[in-house]
Symmetry: C2
Subunit: 349 residues, 2 copies
Amino acid sequence: MPPLPSELAYVPFVSVQHMMNLVHHLGIETVLRALADEIEADFKRWEMFDKTPRVASHSEVGVIELMPTSDGEMYGFKYVNGHPKNTREGLQTVTAFGLLADVNTGYPKLLSEMTLLTALRTAATSAMAARHLAPKDASTMAMIGNGAQSEFQCLAFKAICGIDTVRLYDTDPAATAKAARNLVGHGLDVIPCTSAEDCIEGAQMITTCTADKQNATILTDNMIGPGVHINAIGGDCPGKTELHRDILMRSSIFVEYPEQTWVEGEIQQLDRTHPITELWQVIAGHATGRTSPTQITLFDSVGFAIEDFSALRYVEGAIKGTEFFTMLDMLADPDDPRDLFGMLQRSTA
Amino acid sequence: MPPLPSELAYVPFVSVQHMMNLVHHLGIETVLRALADEIEADFKRWEMFDKTPRVASHSEVGVIELMPTSDGEMYGFKYVNGHPKNTREGLQTVTAFGLLADVNTGYPKLLSEMTLLTALRTAATSAMAARHLAPKDASTMAMIGNGAQSEFQCLAFKAICGIDTVRLYDTDPAATAKAARNLVGHGLDVIPCTSAEDCIEGAQMITTCTADKQNATILTDNMIGPGVHINAIGGDCPGKTELHRDILMRSSIFVEYPEQTWVEGEIQQLDRTHPITELWQVIAGHATGRTSPTQITLFDSVGFAIEDFSALRYVEGAIKGTEFFTMLDMLADPDDPRDLFGMLQRSTA
């Protein structure tokens, strides 16, 4: 038997099962609140991060992306795909995993599933943004698009913004029924609706999360009354939008990272001279969020690498002292760093 | 107990120990030859690949890079760091891992350690290039820089180019002694040398692989006689070169991906109008390699994503039917793809 690799050779790995166990152990609302706080804190120090648009590899049927960022101490990236047609084949539209590494040594420090974690961080980011942008007394959210992300959104808005009611709508009634069933027992009034118009009735906040890779119009201008906050998260690649352009023209628009949002977000539909505000500027106190009760605020969210970084940092801390990870023998660690070949040779035994 | 995740949720993982076992099982020279053939075949169909310079995150002490590529059917990327100062702290200068995914679904299909695999593919690429560029009767290689990559280079040139003698030199005699010791029993005449001048004596091929992050001059112009093939692999980031500019002026220069080599390779020292040849063009028959016995040929190699892609594809095939991998529960795979939340909820048990 060759000697066992040293501690340096191992990287903690959080599997899907570990992630589920961790969420149950801590409670999903606790996790969502902690993620929102972690993401908000990183948005506050936005300027410290290396920022770059995601590195996308497009094909006719989908996209595979790498989303790297660094705060100078830690480096993180996420691998994520987006394949809308997967659902029809019994596969996930989005799967993801991520990695944290130490900038000082380049050594990986955490490998984690991120399909679940992305769902959690996306919901936490949406609700964190709404905490800054939505009307203060908002108690009802319309949730349009009842796919894999919808229940996470509903619970994040409950845990972080204090809503008590969600109104659900999807073009497929089975999706609405699924979401309603899953939300039983979570302390929300859940109202399934049969049209988008019905769904937005009495809602101070509207979340759109639909998955078609095409310009769609989930919301039209006449549906949006004064004072509403719109959380548009379904448009996330070139050619994929959910809102009618007229709504954008009436809204104060907040984005994560303009370079990326101009290409992937709802604002694809606008001229690049159109005023937009970076969400981090609001959080850091450099820009104003909601300024009047009649203002329509729109968070045009496409997801950004810093949110994944925050989520991975959170997981790195949360698993300490738990059983919710295993150690992967992922790095070669010869006794003498110049003797990689010797390590290989001596392992023959 | 929650139901076990389906097959789709698992990704084959090749650990460092698995990779060592695989190499011993097949024999290192067999692996190097197979890698060279796989890389050569992919260079031949170079135009089919998505190519992009690596995505680098630089810090004061090193760099972390992502190197993605795709041939339209499979997507691959490598995570790799470069931290020259790590050696002084008992850590590897370079650690790496890589992933293959199915372009059609975006689902990962292989996760592998790539510290060892990068050493193997780098050596295989060097020797594959020499097969096209070096003098036909070359039997002796000078190996300058006897660090972690050196023994792999020596064996690749034996297995792929048929050399019988290597001459070793490093500024640190302990590194030379280590390499000489490791090469015992591999069928090579190994000659430790005490200077670079001594080392290149009688060598038809010269490999330079030193690790300082600075413009160095490992070889000066007067050291290089006619007909020699130089395999320069140590210069691989901005500001890091190994050869005197005058050598470049006398050489026919071959590179992997010009966009990257102009920034990272020896040709950083040249004007961008200087003629260079893409190696794939030689392999595909669109350009000539060596045209005379007195010509100095230089492979200015910085490593490219396609080489990692070829190596991962090779490993994917080679582990089939073996025990040299485990299955990682890395992807969430709910029964109903829209029911990620339900999967999480039902796992409470």
